[in-house]
Symmetry: D2
Subunit: 325 residues, 4 copies
């Protein structure tokens, strides 16, 4: 094991609140342990294009509370090719970077895993995605903030729903995972939630809308974008057809879900795994994602972290049904 | 002038944050001045259907901070007919209501004006709409909250826009008025704003996007829904076609703009005009909207309040251009 | 085991955000499972005074998002006496209440434990306190909201601290527990945290302030109210004496920490344990607190939940030190 | 009139939300009109110490939404002396600064007025203070944000007050002005407000607490720090003595009131007056504060802006009384 001297850090894939807190933690703890730090802009794309620069503890002052990522992020087609990865490696060598902390999600770690097999650069990953769809950690950085953003928005829509006796079909993020929909559905008092992990049954939905609280005309349905019935607009169309007397509206929450000041828990999680990532590199770890399971730091090989094996707790679906009584 | 004994209060049209603060103020000040108060649910529709009930000062406890309207709101086709208005009048008589405070916007006051001509019920209006598109008041109840909600959302989207170097076309409310777009465009540092009051010039928009800060790829355009180029999706399509190398996204903020806890200014405005409306009825006013102009209470006949003569200050458009440098 | 027919629910001790979500969950799930529900106002005090009333699923509409507790809360000296508990029991019998769900903290469960030994009324507890100082659950209802409220306030104070190069000593809640200080200290990028679980060493604090980032004059220290050096004012006095050239200020966050709309996680936690409490009573549990450990429902006898054995993870203290570099 | 080439900009006195939006507006509009721009850190103190640096449009990217001031602020004893002002003038000359935009309040403009009499440097001021206590503008930058911060905090305290039936005496900022207390008192549904502009009558306060809503034990009193009865703690002591059966608590909101993301209105105001200040310098104005009166840009000589002649609208005090019924 060669001695690491210079740790590169970057964010990749969709941005998530808390990524800045994670960058800060990596830079500060690397400095604390005597490493040099190199920031890499725009993820793998910037690595290939040589967007590398020295960072120190002051580079990350006053960012713990900011959304987005000061290192910017991008998706890179080039990095999927051996030629692209070779260029990236050459840039790292040129800047004397001999280890990496990759902050991102599934795609980020897939890239990191392949890169780590081809080149002798230890890479450690931090789970940064609002979707919470990674194995190897109870929560991903950004998830807690995103679900708070969603319920804040749904609380506002509920004001209007109650005032007008409206049914609202609200689409939240989650192309492959219903985890945002699941917790926000419970927390916003939704009548029903519709997620990719279960087959969407529009008849069942309509029955629930019909039978739940007949004396109440204002109802909310939370839909994860990845479900298989065509999304919130299609579901809204179906509900309108079946219940023409309802005043049914559709709302797509969209990109607001990725932004905003990170919550306390996201900042703490990001700070913890940032420190642990640097300590892991120091201790010889590589090709692993650092997460938190049962409140303890955990290390998961990239190939296991990437697989979307996160399961939906059926008790949560039952809670939605019980509380919609 | 008959002595008023019982004041009815209702909300009508689209809901707006601060309507509850207005209801509270009307109920409390009517009680203070010795009137009875009758709440009417669901606007004109509920008036026709007899949804009237006695209110006292406790009925409005702990609502000043809540979005929506505890009296609910609706649009009424029936009230547009003489028969509907007759039914409404009979219900008011039945419940001994001999004066009304109507909280709403343009449509609400049009109804009130006609009703006030046909029947001897003095009606005073309060400007409750997020659009700020009424003459006779500097601001409408709900506008200040709505523009804060918009910039909160745009701040979040900007986190993502900056992180990904994206162009965002963001649609805000305003079918006939660009006032929400205007102030939120300035406050969110938008590159350009597009409003119903001016002809939309997509070539000009594209030129501005091209020439403003060439070194900056993240740009925001705020679009009022009522503009004449087809809305944010159509504008987004045009921008994508012209600048295929931009990562252009569209976001429709939608119904979140109507909800939420009212801002301090909206609560103060609602409280002031609520008191003034009751005092106006006591003093013999009728068929007038009570607003605030230059920080003083003002009274505007419904026919003048209704006309959409609110003009856009050209200096505001110039500011957007200057600050987008 | 007698068949339970009517479940009483109450909140007791300090209020916490999410208590309403818990009440809603208990009422709705009790209704779902066929029980009658009795609300008890003002905790044990109201139980003694007969403030009991029937609740149904509609009683808890539109409260999931509200801070405080619709059942109100109080501390009761009377309930600490056998005579008080006897009166309470007689009121429960009078209203046919044959089981209880108690939402509160340490003092609440101590009362419940004694009451459950004296009278044949099964009691199940839900952890409702912002302090997170109960064994038997990873998190208490209200803690997540409170720490978000704290960092929101500290973010605001930091704006001023940075603008003026000031040192701020900020006191947060936590008479016996440093858990609020610990996570908010990490999340707000504090230079140091001071908690009841460790001996306060003012010399060490001053050394850290002196040596950390000498080029930076704006620094934040988070102090839990229960620490042993006399609180934030005393610590501020000491820092001023030692560093007269610092512009040192003290801020006591105070009661804002108990209020506010509950976070998504607090609403989900409250909803989960609310359902589980009713199911536990149905299944014959008694004298237990229902919590969530490692994302699974857990049951802890009151005598174990009450003991303040919550330990501070030393890794968290180390993180504060590392990131203050 | 010499041609201006280089405009210096600084913030001074207490920081206020929206100062960054004002700085951005000055820098961008100066650039737009062809001026060079020099940033001055730490107000007059930094001017004396030579903390001047060139700014361009990019220096102010992504700050419109941030609280505090990127130029930092300070109070300067040195600038009150002729020697200090001479040093400041020499630094301006050295950096070729030939005009100034001063963002601050009363003290800032007093300094600017004297400086402008002694040296041939045109100075224009922008009203930046949360207190709203300047003549020559309807609102100061920061006031709208501060009152929203206050009601957000009071809403949280109210959750606790209602849950525990408590009386809360809440102190807000305003050493010489009751304007923060006045609007937040109305907006938070306070029972009474106590301000410096009127003599504090504790007997009257106690009578109002006694007679207002006897059936309601939870009451809120908003106190401006500058009132003459000794502040919130002293008032709280008096209330406790008079009503020992009340559960009376005191809360000092403190420094959170200065920070936070500026509201939409504060950003718009800051953007407007920033542009107008640069245009004013271009057009030969000097020794004037640029404000907004009745929605139009206004220019007020520093000597008139400084005097605290802002009067309290008695109608506002009446509203508090009426709505506390």
């Amino acid at each position: 094991m060669t001695q690491i001297k210079n740790i590169g850090v970057f964010t990749s894939g969709g941005d998530a609140p808390g990524m800045n807190a994670a960058i800060r933690s990596v830079v500060r703890s690397a400095t604390y342990y005597g490493f040099d730090v190199t920031g890499i802009r725009r993820g793998y794309e910037g690595m290939i294009n040589g967007e590398l620069f020295a960072m120190d503890r002051k580079s990350v002052s006053n960012i713990i509370q900011r959304g987005g990522t000061i290192l910017k992020t991008a998706r890179s087609e080039q990095f999927k090719t051996p030629e692209g990865r070779k260029l990236a490696y050459e840039q790292l060598k040129k800047h004397n970077v001999d280890a990496l902390v990759a902050i991102g999600g599934d795609g980020t770690f897939t890239g990191a895993r392949i890169f780590g097999q081809e080149y002798d650069i230890p890479v450690v990953g931090l789970p940064g995605t609002i979707d919470n769809d990674l194995s190897g950690t109870d929560f991903t950085i950004g998830y807690d903030t995103a679900i708070n953003t969603v319920i804040d928005a749904v609380d506002k829509i509920r004001d209007t729903a109650e005032s007008h006796d409206r049914v609202f079909i609200i689409e939240v993020m989650g192309r492959d995972s219903g985890l945002i929909a699941l917790r926000t559905g419970i927390a916003s008092g939704a009548e029903a939630i519709i997620i990719p992990e279960t087959k969407t049954d529009l008849n069942n939905l309509c029955e629930r809308l019909e039978h739940s609280r007949k004396d109440k005309l204002s109802k909310i349905v939370i839909v994860a974008e990845g479900e298989d019935a065509g999304g919130a607009f299609e579901i809204g169309r179906h509900v309108k057809e079946r219940f023409p007397h309802y005043d049914t509206r559709v709302s797509i929450l969209g990109h607001i879900q990725r932004g905003g000041r990170p919550s306390c828990m996201d900042r703490v999680l990001a700070s913890r795994v940032g420190v642990a990532a640097v300590e892991a590199l120091r201790d010889g770890h590589r090709n692993e994602m650092v997460g938190v399971i049962h409140n303890e730091i955990s290390y998961t090989p990239f190939e296991h972290a990437c697989k979307h094996t996160v399961e939906i707790n059926p008790a949560f679906l039952k809670i939605v049904e019980i509380l919609a009584i």
